[in-house]
Structures are given as structure tokens and as C-alpha cells.
């Protein structure tokens, strides 16, 4: 690719428009300098940190002055590590459940939200509220809320006869707590995205559906759902990436426990990197993690955009 025209100030460009001959289009490769700030930014925010991790991942570091090159050894050991594999499957299951619950639920909420009147604002505020709370605060809220002794939620569940809910001891309870917390926190995002898309459908579409005698389901399936494709693609990507990398909330609520029931990839990674200071395995782990998110997102995106054609 060559840059044929320099980027110029539009006002100046308009000013010298009249006497510019078509055959004399000025070429000035100094214009490349204008992308320099971006290159610098990306270098410092992404490229250098990433290369540092790559550097770690191929070495065994004993101390700053004592290190040996080990090639792909760490990658091999990380992929064979049962703890990593367990965390990977757990995270995958968690993301799948998050998507299966949050996407339909979010769309359902968006469809049910009012289309006009003062209730619109009220509904928007109520729905958007969880999104405004910082991650670790969400974790703290749920850590207390789900407690069987003093938490309102946990206590209420324990009032059901025969139920003994305790997320600090029971791995299923812990899993459910983290899942419900994520649904509570992030379904509103899906709902708001879907609501925005639904609002953009012109009224005559619904009127035509009435005239055609379409049921509520047929109206949803034939008019609303097709219009949601774009935002749902974004919602699925965002929710996949976010849930696959979830860290703060389970760290605050369960700390990955009980046992390793809620020990997701990110929790395990930070344990290896920060807790044990195993920089080599952690580096290899990070790169693989990064790669998985990239690939899955790419596959999602391709499938979702292709199916619309």
C-alpha cells in the first residue's frame, strides 16, 4: 500500500482547491509520520508488554542474572498440566452457561421493556443499575448477599426445607453463586443493546404484523429477531470474552474455591504468575490464553456474520 496523498488540514485543502490541477496530485511520504503517535502508543501499551511475556515464556528464570533458554518447554508442560486443563474446561463451561442464559434473558427483557411513556426512563435506570457497579464491589455485594447466615439471598434459600446452601463449602453452590452473580451483573448489557436495536424498528412493521394476523411469537421471530442480529453478534462476543476472562468477582467471592470449583483460567494464571512467581509457565499460559480468546472470538464473529447473508 502506498500513500498517494498526505493527510492535510481540510480547511487548507479546500482553500487551495481551485488552482489544483488533476495531473499534479502532490505526493508527500512525510504523511506517514502522522501515524507515528499511534505506533508509539500501541508499542508501549501492547507490543512491548506482549513481547516481554513472549520473552518470559521461552526462558527459565532463576534470578535476573541467571536464566536459561528452554524453547517451547513451558508450552508443553502447561498444556499437559491437569490443573490448567481442568481450569480451561471449567472456564469454557462457565462461558457457555453465561451465553446460554444471558443472551436469551437479555433479549426477553428488552422485548418486555416499554416502548414509550415515562416508564421507559424508569425501566432503563433499573436495568442499567448493575452495570454501574465496579467489579470488585459486585463481588463484595454477592459475597455478603449469598452468605447463609447474614446474607439476605443465602438466608432466604436456606429457609426452603431440606436445602443447605453454603457457597464456601459446597462446590455446586459456589458455582451457582458465581454464575448468578455474572447473570445479574451483565444481562443488562445484553438487554440494553437489544433494546436499542428493537427501538430502531419502525412502527409500520408492527402494524403490518397485526394486519397479517401474526402472533406475538411470529412477530418476534420474523420482525424483531432478524433486526437483532448485529447487536447480538456484538453482545455474544463481548460476553464471551468477558466471561472467559472473568477474574475479579470469583476472586472476591470464592477465591477460586472451595477446592478448585471456581478456579477459572484467570484465577489460576494469577496464582501461578503473582502467587508463585513462575514467570516462564505463566508467560506460556498467558499466550495460550490470549490465543484461545482470539480464535474463539474470530470463529463466533465469522459464523454470526456469515449466517446473515
Amino acid at each position: 500500500m502506498t500513500l498517494t496523498e498526505p493527510v492535510k488540514d481540510p480547511v487548507a485543502a479546500a482553500a487551495d482547491e481551485p488552482d489544483r490541477r488533476p495531473e499534479a496530485k502532490p505526493k508527500d511520504n512525510r504523511a506517514w509520520l502522522l501515524v507515528l503517535p499511534v505506533v508509539v502508543c500501541v508499542t508501549f501499551t501492547a507490543l512491548i508488554p506482549l513481547m516481554t511475556v513472549v520473552n518470559y515464556s521461552v526462558q527459565d528464570i532463576f534470578s535476573p542474572s541467571d536464566r536459561i533458554f528452554v524453547g517451547l518447554e513451558w508450552f508443553r508442560s502447561v498444556t499437559r498440566d491437569p490443573e490448567v486443563r481442568g481450569a480451561f474446561l471449567r472456564t469454557l463451561l462457565f462461558s457457555a452457561q453465561v451465553l446460554l442464559i444471558e443472551i436469551p434473558l437479555g433479549v426477553a427483557i428488552a422485548v418486555a421493556m416499554p416502548r414509550r411513556g415515562w416508564t421507559v426512563s424508569a425501566a432503563l435506570v433499573v436495568v442499567a443499575l448493575p452495570l454501574l457497579i465496579p467489579w470488585n464491589v459486585v463481588g463484595t455485594i454477592w459475597q455478603i448477599f449469598a452468605r447463609g447466615d447474614i446474607g439476605l439471598g443465602g438466608w432466604a434459600i436456606n429457609q426452603v426445607p431440606g436445602v443447605d446452601f453454603n457457597y464456601t463449602l459446597d462446590s455446586t453452590d459456589a458455582w451457582i453463586t458465581v454464575l448468578v452473580m455474572d447473570v445479574w451483573h451483565w444481562t443488562p448489557l445484553v438487554a440494553l443493546l437489544a433494546y436499542a436495536a428493537l427501538r430502531s424498528i419502525p412502527e409500520p412493521y408492527f402494524q403490518a404484523a397485526q394486519i397479517d394476523g401474526a402472533s406475538a411469537w411470529a412477530t418476534f421471530r420474523r420482525i424483531q429477531l432478524p433486526r437483532l442480529r448485529g447487536v447480538l453478534t456484538i453482545a455474544i462476543l463481548l460476553r464471551f470474552m468477558d466471561s472467559f476472562m472473568i477474574y475479579t468477582e470469583p476472586f472476591v467471592v470464592t477465591g477460586g474455591g472451595p477446592g478448585n470449583a471456581t478456579s477459572f483460567l484467570s484465577v489460576l494464571l494469577s496464582k501461578i504468575a503473582v502467587g508463585q512467581f513462575d514467570l516462564g509457565p505463566a508467560g506460556a499460559f498467558s499466550l495460550l490464553y490470549f490465543l484461545i480468546v482470539q480464535i474463539v472470538s474470530y470463529v463466533f464473529f465469522t459464523v454470526l456474520t456469515r449466517s446473515g447473508r
Binding site: A208, A214, S215
Partner: protein, 363 residues
């Protein structure tokens, strides 16, 4: 098929403070093609939506023949409605679009197929049945939207809400003749909303002119042109619209700016009136005559097929139509004569009489 009767039907969007449609009684006779003509915001679409049941009127009752349908939901009314822009189920094929209203009503499969094919033949969609509807051009999309209305049996009326707005002028012609053919072949009642007078006048058996939520005149196209019952009709229909001059009635004579135009045809209480005459019925000539006014030419628009002569008649601007290549030059003085029987008097915008020639000086 039955008449659609509006009995004292009115609609207000703000609880009765202002009326989008003023309470009116009106019958759409079965099998006729109507044009509902009026400026933007005059209540055309509201009236249409009341008929199709998308809006329940604030007052009054709606009858389809002997059946009262005021509170019957849209789906139960068998109305076909076409909107300003094509409304399609974009993910579905043309065939499925046409079949959709029937499938919703659980018609048997072979019946669905028979009807869809019949409608597609009538609308010339046979070659496109398998295509995704959103891949069609806007004109065809609009035809598919129309087809969805026609595919049902016993359609009570086809309502068209400015259906040709989004369509290319070239395609517009074809579509309009398709509509006329459908009307001829099916005998459905058609109500065609438009703000374009040409569209209305060429399309309809009867034109209904709506203004500020009330019907000001209804009749055949020629009637609206030749004998407007309301000042608005005179202005809105015709190009350019009717001239109106402020006048005065006294002692049976009509004066404009102190000059006598003519005599009133029937006794009228004295007082101010407006004198309306179309450019087509105002002719410039040398000799005085009645009804008419002295005039001075202020300008001429050469329109090609004819000329529009702008004059000041008794101090008021007026447009007269003349043959192409007329010799008038600005500044020329003369006399503008009006065709007897085509000069009307309006009071409060409503027609209240005619101007006829003076006795003895009739010309």
C-alpha cells in the same frame, strides 16, 4: 365486500383538546377507488388507521356493512394496508412473505399455495417467488407488501398510505397502472392516501379532500376542479391554484377594490367575501365585460404549452392563463374577464355563491 361506514368517528391523540380527525360521518362505498387527498398532518393516516383498526377512534363507530367493527382488532378486519415504505419480512422469500398472512390464519397448505400463486401471477412476481424479499428493488418490494394484503380471501378494502413515495418516478407509473388493474380485476374498495393531486386525480373514481381533520369536499376529479366547495380545494387542486381576491358584497353587487366584478347569483347578506377564480377561467382581453376586472400586466411566465400572465386586478395580484406566445408585456393595461359559472364567492373559506354578469352589460 361491503361499504365501510364511519359513524360520527373522530380521533384525538391528546384526550380531546385537539382533534386529529374531527368527528365525521362518511361512507366508503364498496368497490370504488378513492383518493384521500390533503396536506401533511391533516389526519389522512389517522383516518386510514382507524379503518384498519390500528387506532381505536376516540368517538364514533366503524361499520363494515352490517357488522360493527369499532373494537375488532386489526387481524379480524381483513384489511390490506400498504405503508409509505415497503414493509417486508426481510429474511423470508417472496413466497413466504405472501404466504405469511395465510399461515398465521392456519389455512391448509394447498390453499396457501394456490392463493400465493394466484396473487403472484396477478402482480407479476412469478419470477421472484424464490428470492429473498430484501434483495428486490423498492418498487417490487412495495408490490410484495401489497400482495400480502391481497392474498387473503374476502379483503374488505385495500388501504394505501402514500405507497409510491419511495419509488422511482419511472416505476411509479407502472405501479399505479398495476393498482388500477388490480382494482378493475378484483373490485376491492381502494383508499389511496396521497398529497399529490396528480396522483389523486388520475387514480380515483372519487377524490376526498381532507383538511385539519375534516372532509372539506368529496367528488369526482372534474367536480373538484370546476366547482370547488371550499377555498382550500381551490388552492390545493390545480396548478397554479385558484386566485382569491378580497371583495365586498353590497346591494347584490360584488366589488373588489372598489370595482364592480359582477352580481351575486342569489341574495347574500352584505359584508366581506373572497372571490375565487381559477387561472384557466380568467382571460385577458381589451374590452371590458362582466364578470371581470380592469387589470395591469406585471409579468409573464412562459410555461411552454401555455403562458401564465401575472396581473394586478383592481389592486390585487391575479394569475390568468393565456395561449403560448401571448403578446402581453409588463405594464400593459387591459381587462381580465372571467368565465360565467366559474367565479365563486367564499365566506369563512366555504363557498356561499357565484358571481354572475351584470344585467344589460353581460358579455
Amino acid at each position: 365486500m361491503a361499504d365501510i361506514r364511519l359513524e360520527d368517528v373522530g380521533h384525538s391523540y391528546d384526550g380531546g383538546r385537539t382533534w386529529a380527525v374531527r368527528p365525521m360521518t362518511w361512507t366508503w362505498r364498496s368497490g370504488r377507488a378513492y383518493a384521500l387527498l390533503g396536506p401533511s398532518g391533516c389526519g389522512k393516516t389517522t383516518l386510514l388507521n382507524i379503518m384498519s383498526g390500528l387506532i381505536t377512534p376516540t368517538t364514533g363507530r366503524v361499520w363494515f356493512g352490517e357488522r360493527e367493527v369499532t373494537s375488532v382488532p386489526t387481524a379480524g378486519r381483513n384489511i390490506a394496508q400498504v405503508f409509505q415504505f415497503p414493509v417486508l419480512y426481510e429474511e423470508m422469500s417472496v413466497y413466504d412473505n405472501l404466504a405469511f398472512p395465510l399461515r398465521n390464519r392456519r389455512y391448509p397448505k394447498d390453499e396457501v399455495d394456490r392463493r400465493v400463486r394466484a396473487v403472484s401471477r396477478m402482480l407479476g412476481l412469478d419470477a421472484h417467488l424464490g428470492r429473498r424479499s430484501r434483495r428486490l428493488d423498492p418498487g417490487r418490494q412495495q408490490i410484495v407488501s401489497l400482495g400480502r394484503g391481497l392474498v387473503r380471501s374476502d379483503v374488505a378494502a385495500v388501504l394505501l398510505d402514500e405507497p409510491l413515495t419511495v419509488v422511482d418516478p419511472a416505476v411509479r407509473w407502472t405501479l399505479r397502472s398495476t393498482l388500477k388493474e388490480i382494482h378493475r380485476d378484483t373490485g376491492h374498495t381502494l383508499v389511496y392516501v396521497t398529497h399529490d393531486q396528480t396522483e389523486a386525480l388520475t387514480f380515483a373514481d372519487e377524490v376526498v379532500v381532507l383538511k385539519d381533520g375534516a372532509i372539506v369536499q368529496a367528488g369526482e376529479p372534474a367536480e373538484l376542479f370546476l366547482s370547488p366547495a371550499h377555498e382550500f380545494v381551490g388552492h390545493f387542486i390545480g396548478s397554479p391554484g385558484m386566485n382569491t381576491l378580497p371583495g365586498e358584497v353590497a346591494d347584490g353587487l360584488v366589488r373588489v377594490g372598489g370595482q364592480v366584478v359582477g352580481r351575486v347569483d342569489e341574495p347574500l347578506p352584505p359584508g366581506p367575501v373572497r372571490v375565487g377564480v381559477r387561472p384557466e377561467f380568467a382571460r385577458l382581453g381589451d374590452g371590458p365585460g362582466s364578470p371581470g376586472l380592469p387589470a395591469e400586466v406585471t409579468g409573464v411566465d412562459r410555461m411552454g404549452a401555455y403562458d401564465l400572465v401575472h396581473v394586478r386586478a383592481a389592486g390585487h395580484p391575479l394569475v390568468a392563463r393565456a395561449e403560448a406566445g401571448s403578446p402581453y408585456e409588463p405594464g400593459a393595461a387591459g381587462f381580465v374577464r372571467f368565465t360565467t359559472g366559474r367565479v365563486f364567492l367564499f365566506r369563512d373559506a366555504v363557498r356561499c355563491g357565484q358571481v354572475v354578469p351584470l344585467n344589460g352589460r353581460a358579455g
